[in-house]
């Protein structure tokens, strides 16, 4: 039994050492596993951001349940001035409508939006479909299948909204991420996918429309959804920084200034360029209004498409 005591002592030691390290550091929660698209941008954001604030920071990945577990941890840290979250669009503007979560869009102190990329409606280049009209026509005899990176994700919502608002006949097949969905598109298991420029370029796809209110530079011949005779649909993949409620105004201002300086820094710009992330800064008030607006719009799509639980 002596050996058991050793093991307990060792465990206790580990517990205390962790507690000692955790004090007085800024924790940046990334609600995805390390190495993902959001994590990489967060990790390149972190050094300049903490330098601007003059603190030491650690990126902590808290993954699971469509990024809501990590986001909930930020929301639940009310009043803690040493924790922020680097958040994806879905966790802030879609998931609260779909699930009973311990947070909503009002549960945060908004800091800034960092990047935003419009989404495209695209088909494989090997298909003979070159326009949205053609896609609609061909879907009449046999409905198409569209993929997504999971149920309740932006690619899912963008296509669901398109189907509801047009004559396009298409059904949803969710995958566990953009990669597997691209595999399915390459094997013609699915025919349509909505995603960003990064996906479009990497996998040699053909864009048929863009989910934005204006045509996008570099893709001038790709019409917007509104131009195709549909109601204006605005879907973009964006990320931003949020802090918990109940932090001091001074701290919130420090965060906001540090974020602005980071997004404008050459280092972050160079990185964003490489990762094809489109810098789209919004300050605290604009970001808050933006999230609220997206939350309402997405909720409407979910209701129209019959996806509300």
């Amino acid at each position: 039994m002596k050996s058991l005591r050793y093991s307990l002592a060792a465990l206790a030691l580990i517990g205390t050492s962790h507690a000692a390290v955790a004090a007085d550091n800024l924790e940046i929660i990334v609600p995805f596993a390390a190495g993902g698209a959001t994590d990489i941008i967060a990790r390149s954001f972190e050094p300049t951001f903490s330098q601007q604030l003059g603190v030491t920071s650690v990126v902590r990945n808290v993954a699971g349940a469509s990024a809501t577990v990590g986001t909930a941890e930020v929301a639940n840290s009310e009043g803690n001035p040493n924790i922020i979250g680097y958040e994806p669009a879905g966790a802030l503007s879609i998931q609260p409508s779909l699930k009973k979560l311990p947070y909503g869009p009002d549960s945060f102190t908004y800091v800034c939006r960092t990047v935003s990329n419009p989404m495209f409606l695209m088909v494989s280049k090997s298909s003979d479909i070159t326009s949205f009209q053609q896609l609609v026509e061909k879907s009449q005899d046999q409905p198409f299948l569209y993929g997504s990176s999971g149920p309740g994700t932006l690619p899912h919502l963008a296509m669901a909204a398109t189907v509801v608002n047009s004559d396009l006949k298409a059904e949803h097949v969710p995958y566990s991420g953009s990669g597997p969905a691209m595999n399915a598109l390459a094997g013609n298991e699915i025919q349509i996918m909505a995603d960003t420029e990064t996906i479009l370029e990497n996998y040699d796809l053909r864009p048929l429309a863009v989910f934005a209110d204006h045509r996008v530079a570099g893709y001038e011949d790709v019409p917007t959804i509104e131009e195709l005779g549909l109601p204006a649909l605005d879907f973009s993949v964006w990320q931003g920084v949020v802090a918990p409620k109940g932090i001091s105004d001074e701290r919130a201002k420090q965060y906001a200034e540090a974020c602005k300086a980071t997004v404008e820094s050459d280092k972050f710009k160079a990185f964003a360029d490489k990762a094809k992330a489109n810098i789209a800064y919004l300050g605290p008030d604009d970001f808050k209004a933006f999230v609220q607006k997206r939350f309402e719009a997405n909720k409407q799509v979910l209701e129209d498409a019959g996806l509300m639980p």
Binding site: S44, L145, G179, A184, G187
Partner: protein, 508 residues
């Protein structure tokens, strides 16, 4: 040719070689510590790569990846606790060999099989990547479903002797995998209204509980002295004649690993189980499997290390990562301005070739570094048993929580540990539980996606494509084989019993 020479030049810089040595060695150690596996290892090293050039950072990460897949076998053999889920199948024959005092031989086979599998898949990657990638694209949901069904039959194979107990554990693992968000509708299942459970049960905490923690409990509760002896381990490589005798096993394991690794959504743990099941049907020494037969170690280790090379096939040829680990590698490439995708091979040929060279050097480094690494574990295991067990508990919990950072995973690991201890006491095999958990999500989502695609018509699965039909025919043959084998065995047993009865002289 110039490209290949230039690529070799990129790979043979002192920075890259140093990164390979550090990465591989750290990978072996991390893989060997129960609980810490490939994903945790890569998470630790990923931030270090931000300041490096692309080849050096990939060298470091590939080293950690390949090293960790091999390292898992060391603890699997020494103390019956796989360091990573990928090495779970190595315990079946590795630990019995240790108990028989053949630990040196077991480690030698594990090391050589890992090296062989790694190099085999590198060669395949270099010469056939585009063709194999094209083939992998044809593996849609229905084909994956057929493949997973075939793999599920492993549960039947691996739990021979107590089929019912094996099925109970397999179903339990399958059920564990259904907790959390539904993969198709996103609705919560079996969460009992608990928000913490909505992220589901992760594989690592369950594996840590089932193998590492239950092993600790078993050792603490063991009355006999024998269970507490930790072996004096050295490394004894097999001789050329021995390798020649088992070459066919090495090739089969490597081939299965390379094949499974190139497909989306399966991975090294599944490959090792499938390969082990194949050895159970095809090895000439199959009667000894599970009792300390090197063929079992070869089947498991050659296939899981073959995955390391072939997992890069879809990643490099199509930009589609096959599993979490290659997804992280792709992330690291993006940081350095390399965009994985269909044009990577054309646009960045030199970088891609340099990665091939790095993969081969990593496998050689693994072979060289195996000796000092095992030496280190030998030294660690000389410590008083309490420290060793305490360390295992500690690393198990660190590993369980560091994958997702979710405190729930600590509870899951502890509860699985207790459950696994009870199951072991009752003679239930734990491997089917892990197989159920590894293959469960793939089986469920491929079936449901397949039904969406075929619009609810299950019968059309059988005729969906040539690949699907072939796989379903194989499943049929496998079932017929298993049943016939069972019937023949039973008849032989009945016959010998009858003979024995009739040979018995009548005493009254």
């Amino acid at each position: 040719m110039d490209v290949i020479l230039a690529a070799a030049g990129d790979a043979f810089t002192w920075q890259a070689l140093l990164a390979i040595v550090i990465g591989t060695w750290a990978g072996i150690i991390i893989g060997g510590l129960p609980g810490l596996g490939s994903v945790v290892g890569l998470t630790i090293f990923l931030p270090f790569t931000f300041g490096m050039d692309v080849i050096t950072s990939m060298a470091l990460l590939i080293g950690v990846y390949c090293g960790s897949v091999y390292g898992g076998s060391i603890t699997a053999i020494l103390i019956n606790t796989p360091g990573t889920p990928q090495s779970a199948a190595t315990t079946f024959d590795g630990y019995p060999m240790t108990q028989q005092g053949r630990v040196d031989e077991a480690l030698g086979w594990a090391t050589f099989a890992s090296f062989f599998g790694g190099v085999f898949s590198c060669v395949l990657l270099i010469f056939c990547a585009p063709q194999l990638a094209k083939f992998a694209v044809n593996f849609g949901s229905i084909e994956v479903f057929a493949l997973v069904c075939l793999a599920m039959l492993c549960i039947v194979g691996i739990s021979r002797g107590s089929l019912l107990k094996g099925l109970v554990c397999g179903m339990m693992g399958f059920f564990f995998s259904t907790v959390g968000s539904d993969p198709i509708t996103g609705a919560d299942r079996f969460t009992f209204g608990s928000y913490a459970l909505s992220s589901g049960l992760d594989l690592i905490p369950v594996v840590v509980g089932a193998f590492a923690l239950s092993e600790v409990f078993v050792r603490f509760s063991a009355r006999d002295e024998e269970a507490t002896i930790i072996p004096e381990a050295r490394l004894h490589f097999p001789g050329l004649r021995e390798i020649g005798r088992r070459l066919i096993e090495l090739v089969r394991g490597s081939f299965i690993g390379s094949f499974v690794g190139a497909l989306p959504g399966t991975g090294a743990a599944a490959a090792a189980f499938i390969s082990y099941a194949a050895a159970q049907k095809l090895s000439p020494r199959r009667a000894n499997l599970g009792k300390g037969e090197p063929d079992g170690i070869i089947a498991s280790e050659s296939s899981n290390n073959a995955v390391t090379g072939s997992a890069f096939i879809p990643t490099l040829a199509l930009g589609i990562p096959g599993d979490v680990v290659t997804a992280m590698m792709m992330g690291a490439m993006v940081i350095h301005g390399i965009t994985p995708g269909v044009r990577l091979m054309q646009d960045q040929a030199q970088t891609v070739y340099a990665l091939f060279v790095v993969l081969i050097i990593v496998n050689v480094a693994m072979l060289v570094l195996s000796k000092p690494s095992i030496g280190l574990f030998r030294y660690l295991f000389k410590l008083p048993l309490g420290f060793v067990m305490g360390g295992i508990v500690m690393f198990s919990f660190i590993g369980a929580v560091s994958v997702r950072g979710n405190p729930l995973d600590l509870v899951v690991a502890a509860l699985t540990g207790i459950l696994a201890y009870v199951l072991r006491r009752g003679g239930y095999p734990l491997a089917p539980l892990v197989i159920g958990m590894v293959l469960g999500p793939a089986l469920e989502s491929s079936l449901r996606r397949g039904l969406l695609i075929s619009r609810g018509d299950f019968l059309s699965f059988f005729t969906h494509s040539a690949i699907a039909t072939t796989l379903f025919v194989l499943i049929g043959l496998f079932l017929i084989w298993t049943v016939t084998e069972g019937v023949l065995e039973w008849r032989a047993r009945v016959a010998t019993r009858r003979e024995a009865a009739s040979a018995q002289p009548v005493s009254e």
